[in-house]
Amino acid sequence: MSAEILSFETGRPAELAADDEPSLVVDVEGYEGPLDLLLALARQQKVDLHKISILALADQYLVFIEAARKIRLELAADYLVMAAWLAYLKSRLLLPEPATPDGPSAEEMATALANRLRRLEAIREAANRLMNRPQLQRDIFPRGDPESIAEIKHPKFTATLFDLLTAYAAQRQQRVLATVHLARRTVWSLSEARASLERLVGMAEDWSRLDEYLLNYVVDPSQKATVFASSFAAALELVREGEVELHQKEAFAPLYFRKRPPQASDAITAPDLPVE
């Protein structure tokens, strides 16, 4: 096989090196990496990739890289890596295989490279065919004005018996507890108290206990406070007007009252105190 490669190889590098091949020398930018460049070079061998001479291809590549460097084209590192690898492969292909090869043989390496090129070429061919298919919105079109589909939503309601019972119990109960019968507050007004006291004063010629009177008067214990407060206030009023006299022995002791006697003014200093 190597003999065949060698014979095939002759002449090609010279041809490539010629300056009248501008596409090779200048247009590095046009290639998508070293593999792409190799494939382009391989195509120039004008043979099926199955029969490609990797040795010739390596030479072509190396010549190309040399040419590019001569005109000081900046080459990406991977182009140079590929060049180095191809130079190595070339030397391996030209030398007889060592007796105990470590790693792949030169032939295997060459075949692998050829396969990579074939694979790239195949996928490009496939890409081509794919892109040439009639494409949506370029060659073929869907309905331009599709009719709207009305969406009808059927609601499915969820609720459990527990929800239902809880809701029912809670709100019935809440209603019952919330219905506070605000009993009309019975307040003994000042005028009521005064009217009562005035009536009472007529009866009480002697000292009488105000609270005794109150206790007699009040039926409902809850009304005690309001009656007491109003009567006291009314009593003070009557004292101020001179109708009534009030007496208390000490703080919180029982309050006594009586109708003011006609000449009460002198009696104030020494009142005849009621007997306990």
Partner: protein, 238 residues
């Protein structure tokens, strides 16, 4: 199946094609009208046709071609377009179910209807102590769990509501009487055991027989109350 479009081209090239094939301009019109995002007028279509095509004749023929199909060629405001055949409008709907949780207000209302039926809206409001929104009642009617069953013989003749069979099946009740009563509610702790003596829970009944204080529904009452829950399949009927 490699390529449908390729297939088509191949087909067209095969000699088997009927010599009596439709005129090419009908194919062109079809494709143009189909792909257009809006109706096209005669002039716009004519511009794309090969010379010598009588566009009027072609459109008339195309219209006839599609007259009995599921899609018709129609003229809207002097422009042409394909439209779904009128009698198939019902097809153009998509149905879906969405799960919805009832609002608290709706559940409360439902519970009161269940226990206190037949009950009017005003009575429900009285029990709840809150004005109910029309929306809540509508939602409940939509569930199909309640129904208006009559009209109360009181001024204003308000609708009375009761529960339906769907209600029983939703809550897995064999009969309405299976709803727990006062003692059971107390037993489960749902009701406070210290409730005042006058407190009672009615014995619910969904007996459809109208009560003495109920009048039957009138024509139109049902429609009114059930308006939102129309099923599309029954709706398209004809």
């Amino acid at each position: 199946m490699a390529s449908l479009a390729e297939k088509r081209v191949v087909d067209a090239e095969e000699p088997s094609v009927d010599p009596q094939a439709r005129p090419e301009e009908l194919r062109l019109l079809e494709a143009l009208l189909f792909a257009s995002t809006e109706p096209l007028d005669q002039a716009a279509l004519a511009k794309k046709m090969p010379d010598g095509v009588d566009i009027k004749v072609a459109l008339a023929q195309l219209q006839a071609d599609y007259a009995s199909r599921g899609v018709n060629l129609v003229r809207v405001a002097n422009k042409w377009t394909f439209r779904t055949a009128g009698d198939l409008a019902w097809l153009m709907t998509r149905e879906s179910t969405e799960t919805r949780r009832l609002s608290r207000a709706a559940i409360e209302m439902l519970a009161i209807i269940a226990y206190h039926q037949p009950v009017t809206r005003a009575e429900i409001e009285d029990i709840r102590g809150v004005i109910t929104s029309k929306g809540t009642l509508d939602v409940l009617l939509e569930t199909g769990w309640i129904r208006p069953r009559g009209r109360r013989k009181t001024p204003g003749r308000p609708l009375t509501f009761g529960t339906t069979e769907a209600f029983l099946s939703q809550f897995s009740l064999e009969a309405l009487g299976d709803l727990p009563g006062l003692e059971e509610l107390k037993g489960t702790g749902l009701l406070d055991s210290r409730l005042p003596g006058g407190f009672s829970v009615p014995t619910p009944s969904d007996d459809p027989t109208l009560r003495e204080d109920e009048d039957p529904l009138e024509i139109g009452d049902l429609e009114l109350a059930l308006a939102p829950a129309v099923e599309p399949e029954t709706g398209e009927g004809s």
